[in-house]
């Protein structure tokens, strides 16, 4: 990797972190409605994976999607406008936090019904298979989604039909408040892929370079074999499941330990400085730029117009027959 690529990974991660911290404040101010699921702690996962894709590779994820949106190239201000339900949001204020997308950038959405986007991912890959495209569909989901039927149907179909899907399980250890051990017969999630003879691997998820490398190998394996691959990424969310989470299922010591020892931003910052790739001052500069980007994004989102009431039915159908 070139230096600017290393720095871009840092930029994206800090951008997500700052975006999310600001979103948290906007939520408390009542400016963001509905549910808000923060990605803080998991930044290395989407950043490492999406930086390894080619532009023709499709990305689809679940509802914890702000990070993926940033990594796929949706401007921060457009993400913020969507969070505020404004017309300049990527879904014009129709989707909100859980439903970001930008099809031009091959980001096929945040999807909010747990596991329901896995069959859709299989279908995206079917589209590429049908047209003999080389593209890979990268489908991200939490470990909680591996207990729903859709997961098993979709993995099975991807293997039987030879679909180029990279299944990525972000194992953050809790499906809402239920720990993996309490919800899943196997705690090593990648073992579930074994049942469908899908090659698999588990990787450390707090080190963006490790994620990036594992993703790169996995993506190219899928592309070469025209067959699915399963990558489990071990991660941890530092915030609650959503904003209204009393967090009775884990101790604050546990959270603090992760934040102290395994913060993906801290780990990567140290790596860049220790390896002489960037100075602390340079990284501060990137952080300041990101801060400015987010602040300007908040202003943009706040001043963006509300969707018009007369557009309530816009896009209900492509054609009103």
């Amino acid at each position: 990797m070139e230096k600017d690529e290393y720095l871009e990974l840092f930029h994206q991660m800090i951008l997500i972190r700052l975006l999310e911290e600001n979103a948290s404040i906007l939520y408390q101010q009542g400016k963001i409605g509905g549910f808000l699921h923060l990605y803080i702690g998991q930044e290395a996962v989407s950043t490492g994976i999406i930086s390894a894709r080619k532009p023709e590779d499709r990305v689809i994820t679940a509802y914890r999607d702000h990070g993926v949106a940033i990594n796929c190239g949706i401007p921060v201000k457009v993400v913020l406008a969507e969070l505020l339900g404004k017309v300049d949001g990527c879904s014009e204020g129709r989707g909100g936090s859980m439903h970001m997308a930008n099809v031009q950038k091959n980001f096929w959405g945040g999807h909010a019904i747990v596991g329901a986007h896995l069959p859709i991912a299989a279908g995206l890959a079917l589209g590429d298979r049908y047209k003999n495209n080389d593209a890979v569909t990268i489908c991200m989901f939490g470990e909680g989604a591996t207990n729903i039927g859709y997961f098993h149907e979709a993995l099975n179909l991807s293997k039987v039909w030879g679909l180029s899907v990279l299944w990525i399980c972000e194992n953050n250890r809790y499906g809402m408040g239920t720990s993996v051990e309490r919800a899943s017969a196997v705690s090593e999630i990648r073992q579930k892929a074994e049942g469908y003879l899908i090659p698999n691997q588990c990787t450390e998820g707090m080190d963006v370079l490790k994620v990036h490398q594992a993703a790169q190998e996995a993506i190219e394996t899928v592309r070469k074999n025209k067959s699915p691959y399963f990558l489990e990424v071990e991660t941890y969310r530092f915030r609650g499941h959503s904003m209204g989470d009393p967090e009775r299922y884990r101790t604050s010591d546990e959270v603090k330990r992760w934040q102290h020892d395994r913060d993906p931003l801290g780990i990567y910052h140290k790596y860049l400085v220790d390896h002489g790739i960037a100075s602390a001052e340079e990284l501060d500069g990137i952080e300041k730029t990101a801060e400015k980007e987010v602040q300007e994004g908040v202003q943009f989102a706040e001043s963006s117009p509300e969707p018009k009431k007369e557009d309530l039915f816009k896009n209900l159908y492509t054609e009103m027959s």
């Binding site: 069959p119 054609e319 027959s321």
Partner: protein, 323 residues
Amino acid sequence: MARITMREAISQALWEEMERDPNVFIMGEEVGVWGGSYAVTKGFYDHFGAERVRDTPISEATIVGAAVGAALTGLRPVAELMTINFAFSAFDHIVNQAAKLHYMFAGQMEVPLVIRTVSGGGRQLAATHSQTPDVIFAHFPGLKVVAPGTPEDAKGLLKSAIRTNDPIFFIESATLYQSRGEVPDGDYLIPIGKSKIQRTGKDITLVTYSKMLETSMKAADQLAQEGIEAEIIDLRTLRPLDMEPVLESFKKTNRAVIVEEGWRSFGVGAEVSARIYEQAFDYVDAPIQRVAQKEVPLPYSRDLEQSALPQVEDVIRAVKEVL
């Protein structure tokens, strides 16, 4: 004009659309090697090949979910659910994915998908395999629900459905596949969302669709012998619902009976009669009657099952009550 069965009409529509557009393909349980569990796709696998006539595992959610995904990439899948009773296993992907994506992502995603399925009772398949829950699917904005009652309409509507960029839930009737009718020669389309007058009359308006069109036509024949002329409006599409011909007819006859195969509560009869009362109240000369399935799970026993399903005599009785 050729006189063909409903099965042949649907089969022809699929065949012609697949010949016309290489992006059209079929996926579902037993659609390929088997030739379709109702033999609709017999011969397709040999002609179009395994890539375009895709046998799926028994995974209804993923049949629809993957078809949605393929549709997002610009293909035009026709996903088959062997019966509407299995659509419950795919419910989320029908009503929560297919019906929502275009709206929720501000028009970025289009879902040019047809889900074909088979509804209705009367074949002694007992409670879980005999339902007519068509209205449930018609409840959801974002979906279009089509349910033809004649071979001509089935062919023309299915061809339109395949060419539409919106998700279509296309309901066929299990007991209509053998019914025959005249079908125009060559390529023709019938617009989705248009009701049709299937028989003209001045005394009473019968509003119906799908299998119950046949039942209503038989009732109208018998009523005609008694000098009662029924006008029959075939809804053909449940969503969007075209009330124009219904209201026009009602303003002439001032009396209506609505005939559906499914259960009465919250059904097509409830919806259509409410709209008549809302939009043509001044023309009402008698309470609108509903003929529908008795509200029990359908039993296996032939006699019991038939006693629960709406019959020609039920329609005649309802008409006479209204007149």
